[in-house]
């Protein structure tokens, strides 16, 4: 087992509110890890920190790269940390800080290999399904401006590859028939799947799904769990998942992290978590064990 993501001592404060308090967990390579907890526990906040939308107050978030072995990618650094005095006699650190200050942000985290979906679906409503997927491949297609204007062979081949890749994911999520529909006009369940397909088009190593089964009927939820398992087993993807549907979570996840009031109260295998007294207390609202 090799870890892909390590979150250590993650604390997030909004003004006076402490949304996360020293959260720590690891996500193993090619596994499905679920993040559960009652409403307002801070699950989405963890996602936002991991994917770079919030700058964590303290802590480290590391993405490991077992393939190249070149070491870890510090996801927090990419958001542009504030300068420290000691930077000024270390030009390398200084220039890195400055670079990320200017050009850093969540998009860098995505390019490092973390993709996500949102709890409240965020699609490009006025674009077609296919265009949604092409936008996601922007960072990879990215020909020069001139190449696109002149439609060079290279540019066309890149475009073509992007369309093919999008087509494959559409087939995987059974959306092929909708490729030219406006995303905003899709039924709810389709939109959820499209958002996942779009995240996958960025070629992530870690896929973060924020309540993918919310609002789906039991059949759709069943199909979804198959899809998520296939992502792990066939493509070796690592999935981090927030979900309230305990049936789904217990079925598919390899590892569970339980949050309550911004703190990790338990983690482990699904069977062990089901027996955990603190978890039961948090969910059933009885007093502290």
């Amino acid at each position: 087992m090799t870890p892909l993501l390590t979150v250590h001592d993650l604390t997030m404060r909004f003004g006076g509110v402490t949304a996360l308090q020293a959260v720590a967990f690891t996500v193993q390579q090619a596994s499905i890890t679920a993040l559960i907890g009652p409403n307002g526990a801070g699950k989405t906040t963890v996602f936002n920190c991991v994917t770079g939308f919030y700058k964590a107050t303290t802590g480290t978030i590391c993405l490991h790269d077992p393939q190249t072995g070149t070491g870890d990618i510090d996801l927090l650094e990419m958001l542009g940390e504030s300068f420290r005095l000691s930077d000024f006699w270390r030009p390398r650190t200084l220039s890195r800080r400055l670079f990320f200050k200017l050009f850093g942000g969540p998009h860098r985290v995505n390019r490092a290999g973390v993709a996500r979906t949102f709890q409240n679906i965020r699609l490009f409503d006025e674009l077609t399904v296919m265009e949604n997927l092409l936008v996601a491949q922007q960072a990879q297609v990215h020909g020069g401006l001139l190449a696109g204007l002149l439609q060079t062979a290279h540019f066309r081949r890149k475009e073509q590859e992007a369309v093919v890749r999008a087509t494959e994911w559409l087939r995987f999520f059974d959306l092929l028939g909708e490729a030219n529909r406006l995303a905003g006009t899709l039924p709810y369940g389709y939109q959820r799947r499209l958002e996942m397909a779009r995240a996958l088009c960025t070629r992530p190593r870690l896929l973060c799904l924020d309540e993918p089964a919310a609002g789906l009927n039991p059949n759709e939820t069943q199909a979804l769990s198959q899809l998520i398992l296939a992502l792990r087993d066939r493509f070796g993807l690592t999935v981090l998942l927030i979900e309230h549907d305990m049936g789904l979570v217990m079925d598919i996840s390899d590892h569970l992290v339980v949050l309550d009031h911004g703190e990790v109260i338990a983690q482990g295998k699904p069977a062990a978590i089901q027996q955990d007294a603190r978890v039961l207390a948090a969910y059933l609202g009885t007093g502290e064990p």
Binding site: F14, T44, N48, F53, Y54, F118
Partner: protein, 308 residues
């Protein structure tokens, strides 16, 4: 630096700032409740200047000459009719677009301001208009100064500051202590929830536009009496200035609007007095841009957190 010149600029700035503040209230309240800028607000102010002149002339024609009656009557009539214009703007440019994309209401409001400007230009003529001087007279500080070393405050200037303060106080009281104000604040917090709880949010939004327009009418009335002359184009500049005041104070905050107005008025009149009067508008606009970039929440506003 001569202390009297300094004092004079203070007075001018304060007077200017009070009118900015009065108009800024309209921007701030509308922004607070629907999260949008009312682009036509400057033109509402312009309309109120015309109404003031028209009602003044009307009172003279009818033959009412008692000054307090005329002033109060003109003020009330101007406020009423301007409020009606404010209500219509909301009804035409904002309400039908409540559920459309963000740009649509802005563009329709720009359309409305073009309409209002040209409607006035066509109906009242493009030339400069004016009102006869009323309430002439000045206070001097110190009162017994013999040479030119004194600060001069006209009766109208003091009236402006007093009326501005009083109307702000009344508005604040309405927002803080009446059922209507409570409904306004509820709608501001969460429009959908307020609606579910039985607040007629459409009516509340209308009311906010009406209150904003009425405050702009107070400003229009005071400024028109003070300067005596205006044209159909004054709303544009005044609109941006007042918006600047609203941003300075922290858009969405009532006391912020007044504070921002006074700060802007003072800054502008010092700039005009001591630096360069040609560039005082450039200065005000630069202030607006700098604030929007570096401190969009202004002095009293709460920083907006982007929720993901």
């Amino acid at each position: 630096m001569d202390i009297t010149i300094f004092g004079q600029q203070c007075v001018n700035g304060l007077v200017l700032g009070s009118t900015y503040g009065l108009i800024a209230v309209g921007y701030t309240m509308v922004y607070g409740i629907i999260g949008m800028i009312n682009f036509a607000h400057g033109e509402i102010y312009m309309i109120s200047a015309y109404l003031t002149a028209i009602f003044l002339a009307l009172f003279t024609t009818v033959g009412i000459h008692s000054l307090p009656v005329v002033l109060l009557g003109v003020l009330v009539l101007t406020m009423l009719f301007t409020a009606l214009y404010g209500w219509s703007v909301e009804r035409i440019a904002y309400r039908p677009l409540r559920h459309s994309n963000r740009l649509a209401p802005l563009i329709s409001a720009i359309g409305i301001s073009l309409i209002l400007q040209n409607y006035i230009r066509i109906s009242q003529g493009a030339r400069n208009q004016g009102v006869p001087p009323v309430l002439e007279g000045v206070f001097r500080l110190p009162p017994d100064s013999l040479d030119h070393r004194f600060v001069q405050i006209t009766y109208l200037q003091s009236l402006i500051v007093v009326v501005a303060l009083v109307s702000m106080a009344i508005l604040t009281w309405i927002i803080q202590h009446t059922a209507l104000g409570r409904a306004c604040r509820a709608t501001q917090q969460d429009r959908i929830m307020a609606n579910l709880l039985g607040v007629n949010t459409d009516r509340i939004i209308s009311t906010v536009f009406v209150m904003g327009a009425a405050m702009a009418a107070v400003a229009g009335f005071l400024v028109t009496l003070n300067y005596g002359s205006f044209d159909f184009y004054i709303g544009f500049l005044m609109g941006i200035k007042a918006f600047t005041a609203a941003v300075l104070g922290g858009i969405g905050s009532l006391p912020g609007a007044m504070l921002g107005g006074v700060v802007l008025g003072l800054a502008e009149s010092f700039f005009a007095g001591f630096v360069n009067s040609d560039y005082k508008d450039v200065f005000a606009f630069s202030l607006l841009i700098l604030f929007l970039i570096f401190r969009p929440s202004g002095f009293l506003g709460v920083p907006e957190v982007e929720k993901v």
